[in-house]
Amino acid sequence: MADSASATVAPTGPPLRMVVGKSDVKPTWCPGCGDYGVIAAVEMSLKKLQIPVEEVVLVSGIGCSSNLPHFLNSYGFHGIHGRSIPVAEGIRWANHGLHVIVTGGDGDGFGIGAGHFIHAMRRNVKLTYIVMDNQIYGLTTGQASPTSMMGHKTKSTPDGVIENPIDPIALALAAGATYVARGFSGDVKHMAELVANGIQHKGFAFIDALSPCVTYNKLNTFDWFRQRIYKLESAGHDPSNLGKAYERSLEWGEKIPIGLFYRAERPTYEDLEEVLEAGPLAKQPAGIAGKETLLDDFR
């Protein structure tokens, strides 16, 4: 078979242990885009956790936000629109020694990807999912997104949106996510903390990252948010109380909470999948040589 692929050249020795930092690709986002805040928070949190660069996989779909993996120096998978979650699940199950972080947009995650979002949460597969929620379709130049507010005039809704926006927090709670938070890209340090805790959380961690699109969303701007957001931490919110978390999820208007809505402990999918007890799948032996009993059914 293709021998040039398997040609193993003598290794030059592994490079030194390195943590995640910028790659040699400069972000292509518009100046001022909220996504700069999000990537800064991701980088900061990974630096803090000192996870070796090769053990991180950033997975995304398609959208402005979904370009993120290119701008950091870890492994990455920049797949197709709306399908980042199942790709990430596959990676995680192939090698649960890896930290798999999913980054994408609100259209990608709550629109075309809504089904996968919900199912991953009920599974409690250990992923960190950060949605750069700008309430608009950025890369396709400004159509309504599932989180666009009622009445928002966009290219696809010139007379204003006429459907209720998705509430990602309530949806995550209802679907059984065990870590549900909201950050704001205008507060990188706070978001970095949410991300770091999400990465350390044993289970599905969802972070709705308010990340204004300065080009196409003239409604939900940095200023708009600054006038509204407050921190759940300072409001005495108890993140172990699901009922209270639901209540807070309803707040979207004069006041918009950021911070940790909910956290719970539940075994992860990987904990419960018996084949994974023997260690990461990618490191387990493959094949069934000698396993004659597998033929018993056929005799």
């Binding site: 293709a2 193993t8 996989v57 920049h78 990461p280 094949g287 009993t293 597998l294």
Partner: protein
């Protein structure tokens, strides 16, 4: 060729499949070859289902024509299947359940009344044992030794023990005795044969082959006729060391498999045409990102939901066109469980070597029919090298995931490997994997780079052609008629050729274990000399014929195309062949 055809029919829920499997297993254990057809409908209870077990000391490739022993569990079965009884055939039924008008029994065949309900009542007032009694009678009439048959019955209960199992075993003996007292066995196939054989369906062979090839991850969404791949793998998940994930839909299933492959394991998904339609976009992503992937597409009668429990070879055009834009793929099409086992192994080898998706085309007839396999025909000890290669690339020490190479294949690292990070990108990218689509597209240098990347990927088609199995001729080089076929249809063609040989007609068969890429010179070499060809496909438009014309210019004026959901029967192929041979 000595053979026996045993058929049982009734309603869904009557346990016909289990009767069929027990019979089939018994024949296989006797060392006979077997083909078992399970014909059912898209309904869980009621309607009409039937099973045909065809056994012979020689290999049989299809369900054959007609039947020798028919067990009718209801009047409808008698109605539908009596006309298929052959010379010397016998129909078994319980007159307590329904009557058969003797006039409807074909000349040369007879009826054997077996009081299945009465025999069953000896043990329990419920009627659950009636099948055991009927099966016992079948066993006698089919020349199956009683102890062997009883063992098969008790095995069919798995690890369950207890009086119900015992009753079944005993009631089968009662049925056997009744038949012995009132009928005589059909011993056509009973000549002592070799070692006990393995009995498996195409899907089981695919699942086993995948596990042997080193598959560690299977993601799937249930869909007939692919579901039993997941069922078998799930049942053997721990022993085979394979993680089996039922996904929320087919979109998720294929993306999970792609993620797992990227993550470092050999991965597969399986589905039928409807689910495959949902995988079309992802297939292109695997092609673009150069991720090895095996997708089983087990076809059923379409279009759309169609006839979910019936067979067809109608998805070839879909498999060829799946995915926007162009990327390399291979399509393998085994025709028998033995081939299916090896095709699965080959599919993983090709996907791995050429870093691209490989489709394993099956269909309901292959996926769900039973056939015997000699233990020596499959080898579980498949070499499974580690995927953790050392993909340094020499040039300036920098790792280029998509380095241009002679073959089009570039060294691939896996997450976790230090210093070899890369981003798999579905956008067009350069050798490093960096996007061309954003700030570089349209700039002359990168316009050229894009073309080079396209050529790099498409170049793999040549490698895939070299590496995959070329078309095969079966039968003599010189023949009056050359059959052209692919996939499960080949089985009935093989049996038809045998019949034609008996009639003194010299035919051969050219078939395509690799449907795509087409091995053009080999195809021409095999088919250009043909005197007359007959294209046999289970679809409306002759999709293989169309593909071969596209690639080679060959035309197939004679065709036998079938799109009614039923598998081919040898005799309908024989009939058409004779017509063609007569010049019709």
């Amino acid at each position: 060729m000595p053979e026996i055809l045993v058929r049982a029919g009734g309603q869904a829920g009557d346990g016909i499949a289990s009767i069929g499997e027990t019979l089939a297993k018994s024949f296989a254990r006797m060392g006979l070859h077997l083909f078992g057809l399970n014909a059912y409908q898209s309904v869980i209870r009621g309607g009409h289902v039937w099973f045909q077990a065809r056994a012979s000391p020689e290999r049989v490739y299809s369900q054959g024509d007609g039947c020798d022993v028919l067990y009718a569990l209801d009047a409808n079965t008698a109605e539908v299947h009596l006309p298929t009884l052959r010379q010397g055939g016998v129909v078994v039924y319980d007159p307590e359940k329904f009557k058969i008008d003797p006039a409807r029994i074909p000349v040369g065949a007879t009826a054997l009344e077996v009081p299945t309900l009465a025999l069953a009542r000896k043990y329990t007032p419920q009627s659950i044992l009636q099948n055991a009694a009927g099966m016992g009678a079948l066993a006698y009439l089919s020349g199956i030794p009683l102890p062997l048959f009883q063992q098969a019955i008790s095995d069919s209960f798995g690890r369950k023990k207890g009086e119900v199992v015992d009753w079944n075993v005993q009631c089968a003996a009662d049925g056997y005795a009744h038949a012995k007292a009132n009928g005589s066995p059909n011993l056509h196939a009973a000549s002592p044969a070799g070692e006990p054989k393995l009995l498996m369906t195409g899907n089981q062979a695919i699942a086993l082959g995948a596990a042997a090839a080193g598959c560690k991850f299977l993601a799937q969404y249930p869909m007939t006729p692919a579901s039993t791949i997941m069922h078998w793998m799930a049942a053997h998940s721990r022993e085979a060391g394979v993680v089996v994930k039922q996904a929320e839909d087919e979109l998720a299933a294929i993306h999970m498999a792609i993620g797992a492959s990227y993550g470092g394991v050999r991965a597969m998904t399986a589905t039928s045409g409807g689910g495959f339609s949902l995988m079309v976009e992802a297939l292109g992503m695997a092609g673009m990102c150069e991720i090895p992937l095996v997708v089983v597409e087990s076809q059923r009668a379409g279009p759309s939901t169609g006839l979910p429990t019936k067979t067809e070879q109608g998805d070839l055009a879909l498999m060829l066109g799946a995915g926007q834009g162009e990327f390399p793929r291979a399509i393998l099409a085994p025709s028998h469980p033995v081939e299916a086992y090896h095709a699965a192994i080959q599919a993983f080898a090709l996907a791995e070597a050429w870093q691209t998706p490989v489709l394993l085309a099956s269909d309901l007839h292959l996926s769900e029919s039973y056939a015997t396999v000699d233990r020596s025909e499959i080898d579980l000890n498949v070499p499974v090298p580690s995927l953790y290669l050392n993909p340094t690339n020499g040039s300036a020490g920098e790792y280029l995931r998509y380095r241009y190479t002679e073959t089009g294949v570039s060294p691939r690292s896996l997450p976790g490997q230090r210093g070899l990070q890369w981003i798999a990108a579905s956008d067009e990218h350069d050798e490093k994997g960096h996007l061309i689509s954003d700030v570089r597209s349209g700039i002359p240098l990168w316009v050229e780079e894009r073309s080079k990347m396209m050529r790099k990927r498409m170049h793999k088609l040549e490698g895939l052609a070299l590496d995959s199995a070329p078309p095969v001729r079966e039968g003599p080089e010189a023949a009056d008629l050359t059959f052209v076929a692919w996939g499960s249809t080949i089985g009935a063609v093989r049996d038809a050729r045998e019949i034609l040989r008996g009639k003194g007609k010299a035919t051969n068969l050219v078939h395509f274990p690799t449907v795509y890429p087409v091995h053009v010179p080999q195809t021409l070499a095999l088919l250009e000399p043909a005197k007359r060809t007959l294209l046999v496909e289970a679809n409306y438009s002759g999709q293989l014929g169309r593909l071969l014309r596209t690639e080679t210019g060959l035309v197939f004026p004679n065709r036998l195309l079938k799109y009614d959901g039923e598998p081919f029967y040898p005799m309908e192929i024989v009939a058409r062949a004779l017509e063609v041979l007569r010049g019709g």
